[in-house]
């Protein structure tokens, strides 16, 4: 396996310098991965993530942050090494099923999800007559266990998205689609000044703030989930959300006032919006409680209802 992307000289020298040390640390020898082969893997990973203008210090820090032991194990599995597969199955098989069950929330769906991933990991697909294992894409940026969970989650989301497009008419009727309000029109019906002020206020926020806002208000995640996603304490998230809500309102009103709207009108525009009414009606018809946990659960149940008949058949 060779790097498909060229790497800079400082990165190359860093790889050469650290290859021996990291190879010994990874234990690649027992899986038949030589130091040269391991250096090629490192070059592959570095070429994927390090910029071509990266200096040697960055390259060294990057290489030393890799989980080389798991990287070697994954690559050995991808190469079809039996001892590596034994270790992999011993370490991760049970965890893989548990993660699948936690994601799918139903046993048969979880098994289907996990088995599908196993197939991909083992490499049932072939490319140019060669078996292609998904484990070959593991780069050791995070833990192998975390990577497996992420891959499972991606697979789950992909399946959900696919099955969402294939909802039958009967299922739509069961879900009350015939009673649902029409999707609100695009923002053409709104006040352009309000939208521009809102966009401006949102753009002024940091990416983390917008992630927190989106995860909590759009995805309906709980404070604990948002906290775990961002690696911040739950109470910090709560305070941040309060602060963001206040500052956004203030900034939007200020922006509106800059555009010639008086304060009262700006505040009314924020409070009374036709689209708010539509959103509320939609929620009422769909009988979706505002609780985030239930939303998440409902999503899971919906997917189970869609996956389970297929699994039974």
């Amino acid at each position: 396996m060779s790097a498909t992307k060229t790497i800079s000289a400082p990165v190359q020298s860093s790889v050469t310098e650290l290859a021996g040390e990291l190879h010994a640390k990874s234990g690649g020898e027992k899986f038949g991965i030589t130091c040269e082969g391991f250096a090629a893997i490192l070059c592959d990973v570095a070429a994927k993530y390090l910029p071509e203008t990266g200096n040697e210090a960055e390259a060294r820090a990057f290489l030393q942050s890799l989980r080389v032991e798991e990287l070697v194990l994954a690559r050995a599995c991808a190469n079809g090494d039996n001892s590596a597969w034994e270790i992999f199955l011993t370490r991760y098989r049970e965890k893989l099923y548990q993660a699948a069950l936690r994601i799918a929330r139903e046993d048969s769906a979880a098994r289907e999800l996990a088995d599908g991933l196993y197939a991909e990991l083992y490499g049932v697909n072939t490319r140019e007559g060669e078996r292609v294992s998904k484990l070959a894409s593991f780069t050791g940026r995070g833990s192998l266990e975390g990577w497996l969970r992420t891959v499972l989650a991606q697979e789950f989301v992909n399946r959900y998205r696919r099955t969402k497009r294939l909802v039958s008419l009967d299922e739509e009727i069961e879900e009350g689609a015939q009673f649902a309000a029409r999707e609100p029109e695009a923002s053409s019906s709104g006040d352009s000044r309000l939208e521009s002020c809102t966009d401006e206020a949102l753009a002024a926020l940091s990416s983390e703030d917008r992630l927190v806002l989106a995860a909590y208000y759009l995805d309906g995640r709980t404070l604990a989930e948002v906290a775990r996603m961002t690696g911040v304490h739950e109470s910090t998230i709560s305070r941040k959300l309060d602060k963001l809500a206040k500052s956004l309102r203030k900034k939007i009103v200020a922006g509106m006032m800059r555009l010639g709207v008086d304060r009262r009108a700006a505040e009314e525009a924020l409070e009374v919006d036709v689209r708010d009414l539509q959103v509320n009606i939609r929620r009422s018809l769909g009988q979706e409680p505002p609780g985030a946990a239930f939303l998440e659960k409902k999503d899971g149940l919906r997917l189970q209802q869609k996956i389970a008949p297929r699994a039974k058949s």
Binding site: S65, R141, G142, S143, V157, S187, A215, Y217, D219, E225
Partner: protein, 462 residues
């Protein structure tokens, strides 16, 4: 939690980017906080716009159990230092501090009251000598004596009550009478200062000794006796000398008065006084009457009534009958363990007396003050074999030629070593017999018999 305007949510939803999703490695590294700052910001920027990737990250989070376990372990590590615990700890500590402060203040106030009452009692020594005599029956003398020894603070209150019940005029006249009886000229001069208790203890003379006992009783009742009225080594011999230089007739007169003086001293700390079982009916008059009568009678017969002055407030119908009064005389006993004991209530309660452990030896004569029971019990125990009491005169002997003499019913003790021409008494004293205050006979385990005819001043070996 404040709601954001719906327009914000709408615009957030509409800002979905079209760029490629981060791969699983990056999302994993993001969830595990192992990305560099720039990469993390880039991933976060994408996550802020991409619902699918946010869902992937949320679903790929490790199980709650692991997080819960780590949370639990973290909370167990810092269990005592978490904010809720600290908050309640601070509150509890505050309550405890306030309560402690309150208790300390209360105790200090009590102590201050005691001190002020003591000071007032010292300023008015007659308050301890002159008894307010309520009509209610009094507690037994022995009990008040024991209270003098054991519970001085309790007697403080009694003294305070007495002081409140007394008219000031009576107090003054009684105090004057008390001191002037002993040595009229000198005692009057010394009775004038406010620290009458200390002066009373050091004023010398028979009445001085009694007054010392009296004030010791009243002083200990006031809670300051150990410091306020220590028996003075320089004055006490004079007091005893005067006592011993008295003629037999005087001594005969003094004996009952000493006993009464002791009774008065004992009872001085009590709110009321109780006549001894043997005493005749005693009528109680006002303090002013009693004091006046005492002063008048003292002018006529100063030596005869000096102890009745110490007695203070007890006034018989006829002054002449005072000599016939027999107030409570202590009874003495030796316990099986060889402890000297004394009772004032006919044997109902016995108080342990340890003469040798109270005071240090000074010359040939030793004074011992029964300051408190704890002091007595805290010293090594001596083994007594015999005791003899004639009125207030007490002789107690025991092992190793130990012989003690008290002239005030055991309040003060003197160590006596009988000797004749260089030869001292040896062996254990097995028998002490005093027919009166002057004549006595002591037998020892060494088959020695010692006889005195002058109250122990000189001894003859038989």
């Amino acid at each position: 939690m404040q709601d954001v305007p719906k327009i914000v949510l709408k615009r957030l939803q509409g800002t979905k980017g079209a760029e490629a999703h981060p791969d699983a490695d990056l999302l994993t590294a993001f969830a595990e906080q192992s990305l560099g700052e720039s990469e993390r910001t880039g991933v976060m920027e994408h996550l802020a716009r991409c619902n699918d990737c946010r869902e992937v990250v949320a679903l790929a989070l490790p199980a709650n159990e692991a997080v819960a376990v780590s949370d639990t372990s973290r909370s167990s590590r810092g269990g005592w230092f978490r904010w809720p615990v600290l908050r309640w700890s601070v509150a509890i500590a505050g309550i405890i501090a306030i309560a402690s402060f309150g208790i300390l203040q209360y105790r200090q106030r009590q102590k201050g009251e005691i001190l002020s009452s003591n000071l007032s009692a010292r300023n008015e020594p007659a308050s301890s000598a002159v008894q307010a005599l309520p009509a209610s029956p009094a507690p037994p003398l022995a009990r008040s004596e024991s209270r003098n020894i054991i519970l001085p603070a309790q007697n403080d209150k009694q003294a305070e009550k007495k002081k409140q019940a007394e008219p000031p005029g009576g107090l003054q006249s009684s105090a004057t009478a008390d001191f002037s009886i002993a040595q009229p000229a000198r005692a009057l001069n010394r009775a004038a200062p406010a620290a009458g208790a200390a002066h009373g203890a050091t004023s010398g003379g028979v009445a001085g000794g009694n007054a010392g006992g009296n004030f010791l009783g009243s002083g200990s009742g006031a809670g300051v006796a150990p410091k306020a009225a220590p028996p003075s080594p320089s004055n006490t011999p004079a007091a005893q000398g005067e006592l011993k230089n008295a003629t037999p007739e005087e001594t005969a007169k003094l004996e009952p008065s000493l006993a009464r003086g002791q009774a008065g001293a004992v009872s001085s700390a009590a709110p009321t006084i109780e006549a001894a079982p043997q005493s005749e009916v005693v009528t109680v008059t006002t303090e002013r009457q009693a004091a006046d009568q005492v002063i008048e009678s003292q002018k006529e017969q100063p030596s005869q009534y000096q102890s009745s002055a110490t007695l203070g407030v007890v006034e018989a119908k006829d002054v002449a009958t005072l000599s016939q009064l027999e107030l409570a005389t202590p009874r003495w006993s030796i316990s099986a363990e060889g402890t000297l004991q004394r009772t004032f209530d006919g044997g109902k309660t016995w108080v342990e007396v340890n003469p040798g452990s109270v005071a240090s030896k000074v010359g040939n004569t030793h004074n011992f003050a029964m300051k408190n029971k704890a002091a007595v019990q805290g010293n090594p125990r001596q083994v007594f074999r015999a005791v003899s009491a004639a009125g207030a005169e007490v002789w107690a002997g025991g092992s190793a030629a130990m012989l003690y003499h008290s002239t005030d019913s055991g309040l003060h003790w003197a160590r006596v070593v009988p000797s004749e021409s260089g030869a001292a008494l040896t062996g254990d004293i097995t028998s002490v017999e005093f027919s009166d205050s002057q004549h006595g006979r002591i037998a020892t385990s060494a088959s020695e018999v010692w006889i005195t005819a002058d109250d122990g001043k000189t001894w003859h070996r038989q």
